[in-house]
Symmetry: D2
């Protein structure tokens, strides 16, 4: 059977990863076109990966009949419209995290894809990270008994592009950007047990301007099954990436560390080529990782999605998951704004950008002397 032909919307860091990941496990799918409005960017990305098609307008790319699936690696505020266009063009869609900015958008995205008979696939790679999959497998085998606590932390020195720090395009700061990973991870790890409450603490430790979004957050999830999730994120962690999980249960525990826990501790006076995403340098002591995309699970994710298009597998991460995560993100911002835990379900009205719920509260909190 032919490989699934894929179009990539975007030309930045994440779009490059989609192209690269597709080449690592190449049996199921291949990227045949990329689209980016910035002149020259699509062509450059396509050339870097030996891809023939390059478009300025992604809608032009959606018109290509042989393309069966598109991936969306664009700023968050564009996800909803792009998914709609893709669905209308009859393409299956992989939408990068977070799914979108509002629950209304999320509902519409899920609805249109269902109506048009295309898959809405949610790009949460932690569900494919091999080390974390091993933890999940052990948990499902009963290794840890009943789960009491799961922690997932992701910290690094800050995002790749300016739009991540822009409320209107990103919808929020580090909690929106990376909190979504930890929320999805805990939710999936616990078999999608409903989440009862959300508490979130956040602040801007290194604010760039008055209206700075949060660059550090701590989020506590109480699940209906009694387990607790702790999601820790930072954009101000110097020294490179950190991505770890801890799972504690009544009968056992496991500790997973994607970076220092997989790396080759290395000392070099001269430096060398590449240590890893956001690594601070290669001189002195460093922690180079290997097969980085594979160890994140990105090629596996794309291969899974391609197999879903072919009907060989059922999607393990969908628009519904993205929506569930978004609801927690909204509740988290509201919680941080109000200084109290928020019960789910939670559907705030008239909120266009999730972090508004916190920014509003921050002002109020200042008035209250908190």
């Amino acid at each position: 059977m032919n490989k699934v032909k894929i179009g990539v919307i975007g030309s930045g860091f994440q779009a490059d990863i989609h192209c690269a990941s597709c080449r690592i496990l190449a049996e199921e799918g291949e990227v045949v076109a990329v689209a980016s409005p910035t002149p020259g960017r699509a062509r450059a990305l396509a050339d870097r990966h030996g891809i023939s098609g390059a478009h300025r307008d992604y809608r032009e790319m959606l018109a290509e009949p042989d393309i069966e699936m598109v991936t969306i690696a664009a700023p968050n505020h564009l996800h909803a419209e792009m998914v709609r266009h893709a669905a209308e063009a009859g393409k299956h869609v992989i939408c990068e995290k977070p799914l979108c900015l509002t629950l209304d958008e999320a509902d519409q995205m899920i609805d249109i894809c269902r109506t048009k008979g295309v898959l809405l696939l949610y790009g949460e790679e932690l569900l494919f990270t091999p080390k974390y999959l091993k933890a999940k497998t052990m948990a499902d085998e009963g290794a840890f008994g009943r789960i009491h606590l799961i922690t997932q932390c992701e910290r690094h020195p800050g995002p790749h592009a300016a739009w991540f720090r822009d409320l209107r395009r990103a919808g929020g700061g580090v909690f929106m950007d990376m909190g979504c990973h930890g929320i999805a991870f805990c939710y999936w790890f616990l078999g999608r047990s409903p989440i009862a409450t959300v508490y979130c603490q956040m602040n801007a430790q290194e604010p760039e301007g008055e209206d700075a979004l949060e660059d550090n957050s701590l989020c506590i999830l109480e699940f209906e099954n009694g387990a607790v999730g702790l999601v820790e994120n930072s954009w101000t962690r110097v020294g490179g990436m950190d991505d770890r999980i801890e799972v504690y249960g009544s009968r056992g525990l496991t500790l997973g560390d994607l970076h220092m826990g997989n790396a080759l501790p290395t000392y070099s006076e001269t430096g060398y080529g590449y240590a890893g995403e956001k690594a601070p340098g290669t001189k002195g002591w460093s922690y180079p990782v290997y097969d980085e995309l594979y160890n994140y699970g990105l090629p596996q994710e794309l291969a899974h999605f391609a197999r879903c298009v072919r009907g060989k597998e059922q999607p393990i991460t969908t628009g519904e998951d993205g929506r569930a995560v978004l609801e927690v993100l909204l509740a988290g911002y509201a919680s941080a704004g109000e200084g109290r835990k928020v019960a789910l379900p939670f559907r705030p009205k008239n909120v266009r950008h999730p972090a508004e719920l916190w920014l509003a509260g921050r002002l109020k909190g200042e008035d209250a002397g908190l």
Copy 2:
């Protein structure tokens, strides 16, 4: 100059540690007597450590003129009265953590010791833990820039004695027992920056009875200087002790691990003598630690206190610290009960046992469907 003569009140796990710690760094002080109401226990402890004096009634021991300092290793609800008796007898006092159950008690303890001219020393060993001291030294040298976040976690499979799980004697569960360590640590690490707010999440994952105290807690401290503290505790962590810190700042970070991070990874089919406090066993893979009390800092703490009695050093942890920690514990229980963060200063009225503030809320929360 003669060694400071010390009397130990208590005969359990912690009293034994006091006696053992005193022998490790023996230059400054020596335990000359122990007191315990349980028949035979004081004598047994004294014999184990080559101590001459053994008393059934600690007040009898307080009457010994050559004793200059006593340590209190008794259940929490007895601390206040014992400190008062010691002060009235003109003895310096080392009071184990947590200081006591109420702020009224704390104020009285501080007051009586000041009035009687004796030192009220607060037994928080994390301020003497060599690995953590190194982290503090680096922080004070500017290694991390401005601190954004400190985490301190202590987890183990549950306490040594039954009274830890009794509201009336302990005042609370794991948060009272070990949360006090992390709170003191963050507070001290940040140079006693005032704490602005406290949020705490807790539950009983493995409840022993209907009125079970919390056995897991997560506590978030917001300091006035902008830093955040995260204190993580558990009594249901199987696999042995875990005691770790993480310090993140604008210019650096450090990671300290007292157990797996100091141990000799060991595999044994036969087993061996001792791996460490609360270790699950010595067969198979284990993480034996060495010089355990030294690496906790307990001998150093006692030697420091003895030097304080001799006027050679100023106490670095006092009743005032214990009181500050207690205020946060109270706020934490109130926070957990109410599901919101609590601003300091906080002085609840008519609360005899801190965890009541949570237990009350737990009931209310159930009513509210949280």
Copy 3:
């Protein structure tokens, strides 16, 4: 282009790995048949992996016209003849390590494959191990300056099958079985710098019978470029697998650990499915690895060999490498027998099984009172 069709000779542990590895990176090659003389074994292996062909006689399998390449996962003493038969049948050959038992055999294998125009590929997976490849990449980028010392150790509790302990079938013990890995690794890592001398120390720590082969060995290689290699092997290491490298140079160093250094430290009272090859169990503390074959590099090795067959890549490990390693193995056994270092080139006469060179010396040494 069609996938390379592969036949597997053997039905044991290694043959199973060949089949499984081929499925992990499935784009380039596929196993279509297996052959094993033991009744039922080939069929069982084939069924486990969804392979159609199963043969009792590998020569029957070699007669299949669509098979382009065979892998040899049989006892060492059969390698030479099997390679000859495969070459005569016009099949490319992957020969598992060690290449064979004598240099005469090695020369004949290389010769016949050249004459028949088929590839003789040497199954040394350490050249494909992703973590070790990263170390090599850094070295080639100059990260470590001039290399002073490379160590490679592989230790585990003993081999999978009885023939490994049989001089006539295996040719030697742990040094033959696993020393070949470390020798190949150092040789490749240093750009195939000629080896000047070999010293080897070995003994049977847990001998099974009077004529026990060595179960522990330490081998020191002096390279002509001045670097030193240290190869450490054991069949008596309890507690599971250990596979590590250390690279020390004038300007840097790196440390690679395939097992504990990649694993999730895990504690379980109940146990779980699988921790890793030769792991002692899954209860208590364990070090489960993930994507084990991938992290060894076996799927990558097979995919590379398939691409070599298609002319897309040049083989990076060939019969010549296997021969070079065998020469060192022979020198190592002679060295252990004589208690002195042996200079290369070394071509002992009338030695049918490498370990004879040591066993002879062992007797002599006993006479000499060493």
Copy 4:
């Protein structure tokens, strides 16, 4: 009872450590004087540690009647004469490793101390290193069954003073300087089982001049009880200190790491005060250790020796141990020179400096084309 009054001969790195160590565990002994021929050095060292006495001539110091014990922290070639003078003055002696340069010297040192009734104490701190002591304790408890292999490695970027690289003063290079540690460690760990053979490989990877001493060595010890020791040393290891042990036995194993295995992994853009002996810097990633002298065991060693002087304990490391180590060092150099293993007992004639045995062989080896 009074503290043992100690005089220190030397004013360099090791003498400073003696003074500092004595202050850490101060109950048993105190340094009251130091002696160094270099003008001003003794006074400076004494002032740094609050010591009253400072002498230019150590024999002057030996005349002080209240001094009961001296420590020798001088170049190796002076040890024998200094011990003799100390013994004649009736002082107990702590002699730093290695004991001396020849077996004749060793025999005379042991003899004169016995004759004069003073203790000859051998300064091997690995016998007091707390982490390694734990390994020994577990071994003695049977944790590992019968020991198969012990490895001890010590690597760093090179010595503190010029005399370490001078054949006449040091007697040899890194094998003399640090090989003595590993030899003593294995010997002690195995209960002083006799050593049957020694093989040593060494070279000068970064020679400073034509007559450079070895800066890298690998030494294999075969013990009569069947165990094997592997001692790995380097003066060209960049990136700081490395001191590790591995113990493998029939029933278990343990791994001890004094530096990375005890440190706080730390990242700092600014740097901080001190990371550890020979650490390459404090910016970027570093591995700061804490309580460094304590974790080496040096204060414990001095306290033990002081207790020996008081008759409270029996010396656990004496001139006889130093002599046994020296014999292995001599055999090791001979082995490296001849390229073969050397059986003990071994007493070379007319060798004034141990490394001559290797240097001679190196020339011969070059002749022989090795």
